[in-house]
């Protein structure tokens, strides 16, 4: 117990913390803390994670271009959903303002990479490694500015304030025509160029969709692993502490304000990057896109996928994105539902209702979301065919 002696310096632990042996056939027998704390701590996890990534890579060669575009959009939305999960799932600060930060990222990137001297603001910097971090940082800065509200408000009150942010942003983006092109007109989105190679045109690495798909996949993996690392570090633990018991968190040494600001900053960074990438797929940004529905969509992804899990956020984004092609096919199948926004009921209204319904059903029957369903399946098969 020498390590915890009051005032004394931490003694070097005599317990193995570094390299150690693995025992064949005993995947759960860890002989060092390094093994025990690894992200993929069992062989099964390592194999399945590698298989998933390989499968995702292989899909780019197998699927048709329209299908790839849907999946690429899902990956980008997953980055945004992970961001929302950081502030709402891990840190427990309910934010309805995610669409606002997505918009800031989208317009920062679009303005940086837009052609100079056009109708809308543009600086002609099309390299993705410039505009992507810039978009993230701009959104993060906005998040940090909003965060002090979270230190004063809690729960519903914070939700309402962040809701106001969406309407504020929507108005500004609709009126600021120099930047956004205005309602119904819009502007060209960020152009993804990687070291001089334009990824939004058919090129050396395949068709436009294949290149964009691979780009989004790689970025999703990077963002997801970073989020997992954050979640298992002191920062992620501090977020969870603030979510579960904020006073106790302060009393054991977690500075509340600093970590709430950090949560909003990181979350908005993810949102900004997602916003910048999302519209490169269609090549076009319309200021009406950043409405409450987009925020609700992200919340639906988090709740349906699994609160405070990175894989859940990805699963939720994939689930909702793959649902969309199905709902968009509804007008052809059900004559009552119209594909035109001026008609009632139309597909978009049906989608909104469906998101709400799914959130309600998941909260009632499986509050842990798709991630919880996965846990149930896993636990069932763990002891199969025995009951325990």
């Amino acid at each position: 117990m020498s390590g915890t002696r009051a005032g004394g310096p931490s003694a070097a632990p005599a317990i193995p913390t570094g390299r150690s042996r693995r025992v064949r056939g005993r995947p759960l027998l860890h002989t060092s803390y390094a093994q025990d704390m690894a992200l993929l701590d069992t062989r099964a996890k390592r194999v399945s994670a590698a298989a998933l990534v390989l499968l995702a890579l292989a899909l780019s060669a197998v699927l048709t271009d329209p299908a790839l575009e849907v999946l690429a959009a899902a990956y980008v939305l997953a980055i945004g959903a992970i961001g929302l999960n950081i502030v709402t799932g891990y840190a427990g600060q309910v934010s309805l303002g995610h669409a606002f930060f997505v918009a800031i990222g989208a317009y920062t990137a679009a303005a940086l990479s837009g052609p100079p001297g056009g109708d809308t603001l543009g600086y002609g910097i099309t390299e993705i490694w410039v505009w992507l971090p810039a978009a993230g940082l701009a959104a993060a800065a906005a998040g940090v500015l909003v965060a002090p509200l979270a230190t004063r408000l809690r729960g519903l009150y914070l939700a309402i304030v962040t809701l106001g942010l969406v309407f504020l942003g929507e108005h500004v983006f609709k009126e600021w025509q120099e930047l956004t092109g205005g309602v119904g007109v819009g502007r060209e989105a960020a152009v993804p160029t990687l070291l001089g190679v334009r990824l939004d045109q058919d090129g050396a690495f395949g068709t436009r969709e294949q290149q964009l798909y691979l780009l989004m996949l790689v970025l999703l993996v990077v963002f997801a692993v970073a989020a997992r690392n954050l979640a298992r570090s002191r920062v992620g633990r501090a977020f969870a502490a603030i979510r579960d018991r904020d006073i106790a968190a302060a009393v054991i040494g977690v500075p509340l304000t600093r970590y709430k600001v950090l949560a909003f900053g990181v979350s908005s960074f993810y949102a900004g990057c997602a916003g910048a990438l999302l519209f490169t797929l269609s090549g076009y940004v319309e200021p009406g896109s950043f409405n409450l529905l987009l925020s609700v969509q992200f919340i639906a992804m988090v709740l349906i996928g699994g609160v405070a899990t990175v894989s859940g956020a990805i699963a939720g984004a994939l689930f909702l994105s793959l649902l969309q092609p199905l709902t968009r096919a509804l007008p052809a199948l059900v004559p009552v539902i119209s594909g035109d926004t001026t008609q009632t009921p139309n597909v978009f209204q049906v989608e909104t209702v469906l998101y709400g319904l799914l959130i309600v059903l998941f909260l009632i029957f499986e509050p842990r979301g798709l991630f919880g369903l996965w846990i149930r399946v896993r636990n069932y098969w763990k002891s199969w065919p025995f009951s325990y």
Binding site: M1, N229, S233, D244, R245, A250, V251, I252, G253
Partner: protein, 254 residues
């Protein structure tokens, strides 16, 4: 030199005097018990010490430094650790994560290292894990390591909370009713842990509890409060003989 010095602290909420002129000192490796009837202001004293409440007047010095201008997390970083009367653990986290959170202010790496993980963050986490395992060993929590604390029995939760406070490497430990609601065996275990902490680790302790048997057995000195006012301060034997203490607990003779 005393570890903690509290001098003439007054705290009131509107018309209610929660603490009315309390003064005491805690010496190195001393176990001071604070007792009193319900509403006597025992927990309020703790809340002043950990920075949750700010008293209207008085002076609190911890290791020679003034505490009153500081925020809770700064006081924690100075080495003040506490447990709560009603278990205030982070319910969705595992026992391990709760204990690791106790070490929060000992970490030096930031968010960027955390995102990358390899290098600073990983080294610090592994070292912290080894420290936390010592506490798991000390408090016999091995079987519960991976369990979310909300699923644990109450007695174990109390022990985890003590562990979280120990993980902070405290210079002073505040225990708010560590054996409240426990059965005899759990109480005996907890008493043993408290004594070990003081004797083996040399950490001074301020203890609040209603279990008089425990308090009189463990404490070096006892402070008795009633309606926020100090009634008596002395060794357990002295305090037990004090007629004012009897009056505070049982009421005056009619």
């Amino acid at each position: 030199m005393s570890v903690l010095e509290v001098a003439d602290v007054h705290l009131s909420f509107a018309g209610v005097k929660a603490i009315d002129g309390v003064s005491f000192e805690v010496g190195p490796a001393e176990l001071l018990a604070v007792i009193g009837p319900n509403g006597a202001g025992k927990t309020s004293v703790f809340n002043v010490l950990s920075g949750v409440y700010r008293p209207q007047s008085g002076r609190v010095e911890f290791l020679g430094e003034d505490l009153l201008a500081r925020r809770p997390h700064e006081i924690a970083a100075m080495g003040m650790a506490r447990t709560f009367q009603n278990v205030e653990l982070f319910h969705n986290l595992t026992v391990l994560d709760n204990l690791m959170l106790g070490r929060h202010h000992h970490f030096r790496y930031g968010a960027l290292s955390a995102l990358w993980w390899f290098g600073r963050a990983r080294r610090a986490e592994l070292a912290a894990r080894a420290e936390v395992e010592e506490i798991i060993d000390f408090l016999e929590l091995e079987a519960w390591r991976r369990h979310p604390v909300r699923l644990l029995p109450y007695g174990v939760q109390k022990r985890v909370e003590l562990g979280r406070a120990l993980a902070m490497e405290p210079r002073l430990l505040l225990l708010d009713e560590p054996v409240a609601g426990m059965n005899l065996e759990e109480t005996e275990d907890m008493a043993r842990f408290v004594l070990d902490i003081r004797d083996e680790l040399g950490i001074p302790i301020v203890l609040v509890d209603h279990d008089m048997g425990l308090v009189m057995d463990l404490a070096d000195r006892v402070l008795v409060l009633d309606f926020g006012r100090p009634v008596a301060l002395g060794t357990p034997a002295e305090v037990q003989q004090d007629p004012r203490v009897v009056e505070a607990y049982l009421g005056g003779t009619a």
